[in-house]
Each structure stands twice: as structure tokens, then as C-alpha cells.
Point group: D2
Chain length 326, copies 4
Amino acid sequence: EKHCLVILRIVCFLLEKDTRSTSIQAADSTAINGSITPTDKRIGFLGLGLMGSGVVSNLLKMGHVVTVWNRTAEKCDLFIQEGARLGRTPAEVVSMCDITFSCVSDPKAARDLVLGPSGVLQGIRPGKCYIEMSTVDPETITELAQVITSRGGRFLEAPVSGSQQLSNDGMLVIVAAGDRSVYEDCSSCFQAMGKTSFFIGEAGNAARMMLILNMVQGSFMATIAEGLTLAQATGQSQQTFLDILCHGQMASTFVDQKCQNILQGNFKPDYYLKHIQKDLRLAISMGDSVNHPTPMAAAANEVYKRAKALDQSDNDMSAVYRAYIH
Amino acid sequence: EKHCLVILRIVCFLLEKDTRSTSIQAADSTAINGSITPTDKRIGFLGLGLMGSGVVSNLLKMGHVVTVWNRTAEKCDLFIQEGARLGRTPAEVVSMCDITFSCVSDPKAARDLVLGPSGVLQGIRPGKCYIEMSTVDPETITELAQVITSRGGRFLEAPVSGSQQLSNDGMLVIVAAGDRSVYEDCSSCFQAMGKTSFFIGEAGNAARMMLILNMVQGSFMATIAEGLTLAQATGQSQQTFLDILCHGQMASTFVDQKCQNILQGNFKPDYYLKHIQKDLRLAISMGDSVNHPTPMAAAANEVYKRAKALDQSDNDMSAVYRAYIH
Amino acid sequence: EKHCLVILRIVCFLLEKDTRSTSIQAADSTAINGSITPTDKRIGFLGLGLMGSGVVSNLLKMGHVVTVWNRTAEKCDLFIQEGARLGRTPAEVVSMCDITFSCVSDPKAARDLVLGPSGVLQGIRPGKCYIEMSTVDPETITELAQVITSRGGRFLEAPVSGSQQLSNDGMLVIVAAGDRSVYEDCSSCFQAMGKTSFFIGEAGNAARMMLILNMVQGSFMATIAEGLTLAQATGQSQQTFLDILCHGQMASTFVDQKCQNILQGNFKPDYYLKHIQKDLRLAISMGDSVNHPTPMAAAANEVYKRAKALDQSDNDMSAVYRAYIH
Amino acid sequence: EKHCLVILRIVCFLLEKDTRSTSIQAADSTAINGSITPTDKRIGFLGLGLMGSGVVSNLLKMGHVVTVWNRTAEKCDLFIQEGARLGRTPAEVVSMCDITFSCVSDPKAARDLVLGPSGVLQGIRPGKCYIEMSTVDPETITELAQVITSRGGRFLEAPVSGSQQLSNDGMLVIVAAGDRSVYEDCSSCFQAMGKTSFFIGEAGNAARMMLILNMVQGSFMATIAEGLTLAQATGQSQQTFLDILCHGQMASTFVDQKCQNILQGNFKPDYYLKHIQKDLRLAISMGDSVNHPTPMAAAANEVYKRAKALDQSDNDMSAVYRAYIH
């Protein structure tokens, strides 16, 4: 079966090669030949959560020089053992590095990291690069871009589509926007962490795109949970439901993994339920700002709120399943 | 690229072989070696719509003896040229054949076909097999099973998950329930029309399962349309949105095809919008009967109703997109 | 305060007199002078539930000759003590009476009562009047009207807007449609049971109108529950919320009574939760048949389904409150 | 009819007297005897929109000394003719007055008014009272309370439930919270503008309460529009629907006025559609912050967003009707 997976990956890669446009960087060369040439720029990384941990691991593995910082410092230890350096504050990391990435949980955390005491802004000097990887709203990105560039810094946003697993595997999909030269300078980093990366114009665009992607993912997850629970409620086998689903046109890694986990009662966070709910909220609000109705996302958001009330915030998004059975 | 697809198909087949349980018939042997041994039973087929046409074509291609009937008789001509015989009424088809399939649009049509004048029931004799392929509610299946068996007939329901394209390609996923011996007698038919078939117990189960699958599909379709339109409303490229989506975990044939069609403004019906709305309605109503909330399906249903009011009933389900831009 | 209520009632009556069109029968003369002249026709009544009981009581009080039947016969005893006669079957009641009313729980019950063994239809003879008071879908009304009139019977539908309390008080609002002469023959009955009655054309119209009214009521009830629970969740006094609500433009008997009951934890059925959910379902389905989106009703329906899953079916509709706190 | 209305108002007043708790100020004495004793404090008023205009008018009528300011200065002229003084900036108004009210459109406007250049904060000195009447989110209130009191000012929030009509009639319902002594100092002002006022504790509570009330009102309005349009779509008379509705338990000033206006095609703003949508959004977001699902409000919000996309923002909230017919 493992052999098949390798063939499958190659086939997928070839297929993509043919059909995808040139604006996409085939970042996943690592998946094929296992090596990239790391940039000699000093890399900083702020935030070692579900996504950040995998990213830093892959940066180190591919030979990057990385300085890390995390709100709770203990999480840094593991990476220091793997060769990372320790920064005592966000400001210090930025001062020590050429390019600093951050990956935190929500708009408030992203803003505090930059604007707070000993924050990123204290370390920004002309030429320094700052890359915001957190999924936040476009207004936050615009604000951060402004304060960074007003100090002479260079700003890129680069939120990722994926999960802890994909982050660990270096298979994230990266959507970047802002200063194109930063995007190019980071080339080896994005290759280390991701399967593919996209550059889509001015700062704010990646936030918009990522919120919409996560809105679709969050709504789909709720829909799958609704299907699985309705199967059970009507006396059908959930496993058979999943089998049929995975034989049809809708078959995808996402459906397969989330359903398997649900059936095994495994809600270990791959992407926090509270974060997908935040993304839904921000996407709905973005729709609000352009008078675009989003009834599916609105319905999904309410289901996730119920799941949060059932104490599922820190479980995987698939724990929305529990909102349907309680 | 074509070569890759062949490899991919083999890989998928091998992967499935390993991981799927024995209750599933690997109906897609045709995909590999291109031949099956057709049953020598005389096959009847009632209803030559989007799905029925492809099925009959494949039955004939694989050497079955098929008698067809359709409400508007002209549609039969093409199949007669391909070797089918013509039945003048549903009753006559059933009389002439050992096993009769029907594939019509909704519960009312399915019921009328059986119970109406010159209907199926008039032709049922002990031993005759009747296979209902239409996606209807479980109550209708139970009722049809009862009347057919009360005349000595043998009943199987076998709704399919798929589209016109998959039907033409003989790649449908078949979910069957009812009389297992009928399921086995039809083996070569299911191989001719489908990629895989499942047998899941007593009559009504397949209807339940199929309604849930279509509910998930209908809700997902609406979610995708919501994402695509929100992308546009916020100034993002829909093509890029699709590219990113298709590089991530949610990538699937369904997402790819539906989005491509939408971006090309191609709403030629592969599965009628009015039919997916009917399926959503029936699934919601099934949830109602077991007091199971289905807020995602309820939201989706309202979006499809808006699309119907915009005259999209006879377009493909992807035309739900238009409910978001008008 | 009681004195004030009398003034208020007079004021309301005067106000209505002035502003309402002539198609409305001021049925509530009883509220003013306490007496009406009962018809000398023999009245039958099938179904002594929450609504039926109050109606029969008032019919008897105003001097009508009434024969009653109920599925569980014990419920008849009380009315027999008040002067009613007992019919052994629906057919017998119809045979014994000139005008027979029925008031049961849902379309299936209404249909069974007419078409079942010893049903209404067995007793229908030319000239017999049959009045369907149950809130059902228009299709059921059309079907019943057809079978009754095909036997020479005269058909009227007369669903009511109200509650057990209003039924007991003879303050229902009656919406009638069908055979106008039946409506006129029943004049004294409607005066006995109702505050006002409307005649709105051909059979089916009253069902449509009543479903829409109940849809609005059901959605409003869910909205009120949502407000009360959000008040609590955000640390506000529910009593103060109610006080403010009742001082504003939205103040109504409905808001006041339902909120008071909720705050007292009193969910004794005035109108069954399962019945308002059924009404929502039928209204949504009616919207479906004309491609009219009803997103508010769809959302409300899901909340009621959750309440049903929490075992609130036989409580008052206000128990939808519990869907928000569990 | 006019006579009846007077009786009705008295009756209502008497009824309220009996049943309401002591924490409510019977502000509507003016409705009975037409006079109050105005405070001799100098009153400032910022914002002469739909609500502010009526309030200022009534403050002047009842003998208050009022200084006004509005973003577009022309709107002040009318009030200057009625005896108001003109302030050139918010800061100047606050400097010139003891108690300053503000009534603007949304959280951003409220914040800018206080914190912006020549804003309220510039004029705040120890002892100055500032009363925020705008309906905003509790976070904004908390923030404003903090900055005002940090300068020695005294803060009260006093959002109102009502409409332009009620504002003109001095019949608003006022919900106040914050500094109780300010509430008492304003007694004559609240009597001039309102029917009743409530004091409900610490700053933020009134915002919470008002958002919930408006959420209920906004959802109910959407529900009514849904009912009216479904009536039409199913061939029923909208006028008859309204007549029946107004004879039942749900009858209220709100239902009556909104429906009459809709039937007359009159969407002149009494409360802006864009403002009720903003209130829904803020209420949903408040629910979000306490993990409380608000599916009805979420559905309503989407309908209002559709109405906004149809260019109904500056019409009355009842124009949500148009979202159902386009």
C-alpha cells in the first residue's frame, strides 16, 4: 500500500504540473527529491502552536537557521534541541533575524504580538521582513502592513491552509500576498513547509482568500457531521455511509480523515474547533462588509457555537459532530 | 496525461481492494479488463432521463437484452438503434422481462409508474424482479416493496450516487437494499453501470442512505457556490480560489468539475438542480421524522429554492451559484 | 384591573368595528352581551383535544345541541355531563347530525377520520355539512373537500388561530373557506367559539392562511426564546427584558403570556410544541411548492426539532426555550 | 376613533401602574398631564438623526436649555429656530453644558465622536455628565465609560427602543445603565423624550439589553415579511393576512404599523434597515462571545444582508420585505 501511495503522489504531481498556471510555485519539490537549498537569511519564528511547531521543524530539517519565541517558553525546548536558538521577546527575535514569521491564534493575538510591549515593532528596522502566517481578518493585515512598512520593514502575509498533520509533513498550502520580494526571499522556507504556494497580490488578499477557504471547510465539516449523525439517527451504519461517500465524487483526504477520526472518537486537535469558528465568524463579517449573504456559513457558525458551549473549543473541528448528538 | 489517469485508476483500485470490507462488490472490473459476462435474464428499463440513458447504454454495451420504455417515446429510438426492444407500457415491459429497473424523477413519478394505469403492478407475476433506482423517500420504497411482494414479485431498491457523466462512463456508485437474491441476479447489470455497489439490508435503507449522501452533496455544492461568490464579492480571483481549493485536503472530482463548470458558465444538467432540492427536502423531512436537526441542509434548501425561483430548476445543481449573484 | 380589562375589550371592539372590512363577521358579540341565538341544526363534534374541548364547552353553553366523539372515549364524559350526546363512531356522529366539526392533530389524523373504517365518509349523505377545523396542509383540504362533496356533502374548512385558553374563553379567531352557505349556517357556532371569523374563498385558502399565521407565530416564539436565553447568557435579568419588551411597540398578549409562562417554568400545553413544529414543516413545504424561500421558518423548524429531541413535544410551544438552554 | 385612543392610552397606563415593579420610572406622565418640570442643568445634544431630532424637539418643548451639534450643520437650523443654541464642535458642546447626550449611528461613529479631534473627551472636566444613547456593543460602552470617567466625567448609557415616530411623540422606551446619579439628574429629560425608563445597573448592561431587544425586533420583522410574501406567493390576500394577524394574540403596534406601511409600499425610514442589520450583527457577535447560539438572528441577518445588497440600507427596516420578492 505504501508503494501505491508513492505512485499516487507522483501521478498527482505530474497531473498538477500539467494543469496549473505559472503563478504557482511548485513548492513541493521536497516531496519528490527530499532536498532544497536553504536561504542563508536568519529566520525568526513567533508562535509554536499546532501549525507553527510543524513549520519550524521542517525549516530546521531543511537546514535553516531559526530563532524561536513562544508565549509559554517551555515549548521552545524541543526546538532548541533540534538546533533552534531562543529569542527572549518578539522584539529580540526580529532584531536578531532578517525574516521573522509569526503564527498565532487570532487577530487580537496577532496585533498584540506586533504592537505590545517588547513587540515585533520594537525590533523592526529598514529592510527587516515580517511574515504574518496567522489566519486573521483583512483589516488586521492592512493595519499590520501599515505599521511594519511605516518603520521601513517589508511585509508579507502568508496564511496556510492545512492542519497539524500537513504542517508536520511539510505539505501545507501557502497563500501569500503583500511584498513580492519578501515572497521570493522566503522561497526555501515555503518549500520546506509547504506543498505549494500562491502569491496573490496586495496585502489583505491572502487573508480574504484564506477566510473563504476556511469558511468552505468549516461549513463542509458541519455538513459531514450532519450526514453522519443523520445516518445513525435513521438506523444506518456510519461506516457504510463513509465507505459510500469515499467511493463517490466527493471523496477527498479531508472527508476520509475527518470521518475516520469521528468514527474512532478521536477528536485530538488537528485544527482547533475554536479557530474554525473564529474563521467562520470573520468570513461572515467580511461578507457583511460587502453585503454578501452567507447563509451556509451562518448556519455552520451556529452549530460550532453550540459545540463550543459543549466544551469542544480545544478539540479538533470535527468535534462539531458532538453538537449534533447532544 | 491520459496515461497518468490509467495509472491513477489502477492505483485507486488497488488501494480500495486493500481497505474496503467484503460487503462491497467490486463492480468496476469493467474498468480494468473491459468485459463482463452478461446475465441471460431479460432486462426491462423504465425511464430514460439523465441517469437512465447512460445506464441502458452500458447495459446494452455489455451484451444485455434490454426492453425500454419512456414517458416520451422518442427517447427510446436511440436505444432501439443500439439493439434495445420497445415496450409500449410499463406493464408490458414487466410482462416481457425477468428483471425490470425504473429510474424516474421523484416519489410521485415512481409511485405512478407502479400503481397507475398500465403500470408495473399490472405486469408483476410471482418471481418477477422489480428494481427501483430512483432516489425517493423510504416511505415510498416501503410502500412499493409491499405492493410488489404482495403480488409475488421480488423487490430491490438500488438508487445511485453520481451524475449523467458517471452514468455514461459506467462509474456510478450503487447502493442496494431489499431482496438479496435480486441483488445477486443483477450482478452483471450493476457491473455494467457502476464502479462499485453496496448491499445494505432491508428495503428503505438504500433510500435513507442515498438521501443523506445527496443531502451532504447538495449542502456542499451550496457552500462551494457561497465561497466562489464571496471570493468575487471581495475582489479575489475565482480561478485562484479554485486552484487553491484543489491543492488542499478538500480536493475532489466533485469540487473540481463543479467549479470548472461554474467558471465556464456551463450549467448543462449533470444532476438537475430541482432533483437535488427534492433530495434535500426529503432528507430534511426524514430528519424531522426522527427529531434530528439538520440546520445545514435547511439553509441549503432555502438557497436552492431561491435558485428555483430564478428559473434554474432544469439546470445543473451547480446553478445554485446563481442564487448568490442575483 | 378587571374593570380596566372590560373597558379595554370595549375599546378594542369599537376600534375594530370602525376599521375592519365587511367580510369579517363580528363573532364576538358574546363578549359584549353574553348571548347569541343558537342554530337549531344538530351539531356533531369529533376530537376533544386542547382546542376541541373549549369549543364544545362554548357550543353547549350557548345552547347548541351537540353530539361528541373522541378517539379515547373517556374524554367525552365531562361533556355528556354538560348535556352533550355520545356518538360511537365518526360515521354515527355524521349520521345523527346536520353539521359535523372535526378538530384533530395533523393531516394523517384528519384523513383517517374521514376515510378510515366507520369514518366520516360512511355517514355523509346529500346536504350533510362537514367542517374541518384542524390545521392541515391545503392538499389534504382539497382531497377532503373532494371526497365529501362527491357524496353530496357540503364542505367548509375552518381552522382557528389561538390556544387552549382562547378556546375556553370563546375568543378564537376563525378562518373559514369553502362552501359559503355552510359558513352562514354555522354562524351561531362560530359566535360561540370565536372572537371573530373570516371567510376567504375556496377550500384550501384557510389552510394556507393558517399555516402562514402559525409559521409566523412559531418563528416569533423561537425568536423570543432566543432573546430570553441570550439575556440570561449575558448576565441580564430576564424579567427586566420582558418588562422592557412589554413596554415597547412589540407588546402583545402573546409575548406577555409566553414569557410569563417561561419565567415561571410553566410549559403546560396551550398549543403543543409538536403541533407548531408540524405547522412550520407544512408551511415550509408549501413555500417549497411555490419556490418561495422561508429561511426564518427553516431556522425555527430546526430549533423546534431540537426541542422535540429533548422530549418537549407534548409541552407548550414555549418549551422551545429549552432547546436554547440544553 | 381618536377618543378611543385616549381611553386606550389611559387604560394602558393604569394597567401598567398596577403591574410594573418600582425600578421603572413612569416617565410618561407627560402623556397624561402634558407637563414636567425641566432640569435647570444645561443640556448638550450631539447627533440629529432620525432619533435625535425627535428627542431634541421634545427636550425643547418641555423647557430645557439645549445646545446642539450635528456632523452636517444644516440640520441644526431647525432646532435653533425652536430655541436651541449651536455648538461648533462636540468638545465645545461638552464644555458649554452640564449634561451631554449623543445619539449616532454605530460603534465607530460613537467612538470617533468621543475620541476624535475636537471630540467629547476634549471637553470633559470633573463632574461633566456624558450620556451615550446610541445602540452600540457593550465593549464600546465599556471603553467609553472608562475614558470619560478617567477624566473625572460621569457616564451613563441610555439607548432607546423605538422609532422616529415614537421619538417625535416622546414615547420612547429608555434603558439606562452606568452612573445612577446621572440617571437621576436627567429625570426630566427622560420624561420629555420617553414613555418609560429603566435603570439596570452597570455600564454595558443597557447596550446588552438593547441589542437583544433589537435582535428580537429584527428577527420578528423578517418573519413578518416572510409571512406576507408567502401569503402572496400562495395566492392569499395580504390585507386579509394582516387583518387576521391583528385580531389574534400577536397583535401589536409594531405588527400593525409595519404591515400597513409594507402594504402601502411606504418604506420611509422610521428605523434604518442598515441599523437593525448592524444591531443583529452585534447581537450575534455578543452571543458568540458567550457561546450562545442564535440561529434565528443568524438567519435574519442574512435576509437583511440581501436587502442591503438590493439597496435598501437607507429605507425602513420593513424594506426587508423586498429581500423576499426579488
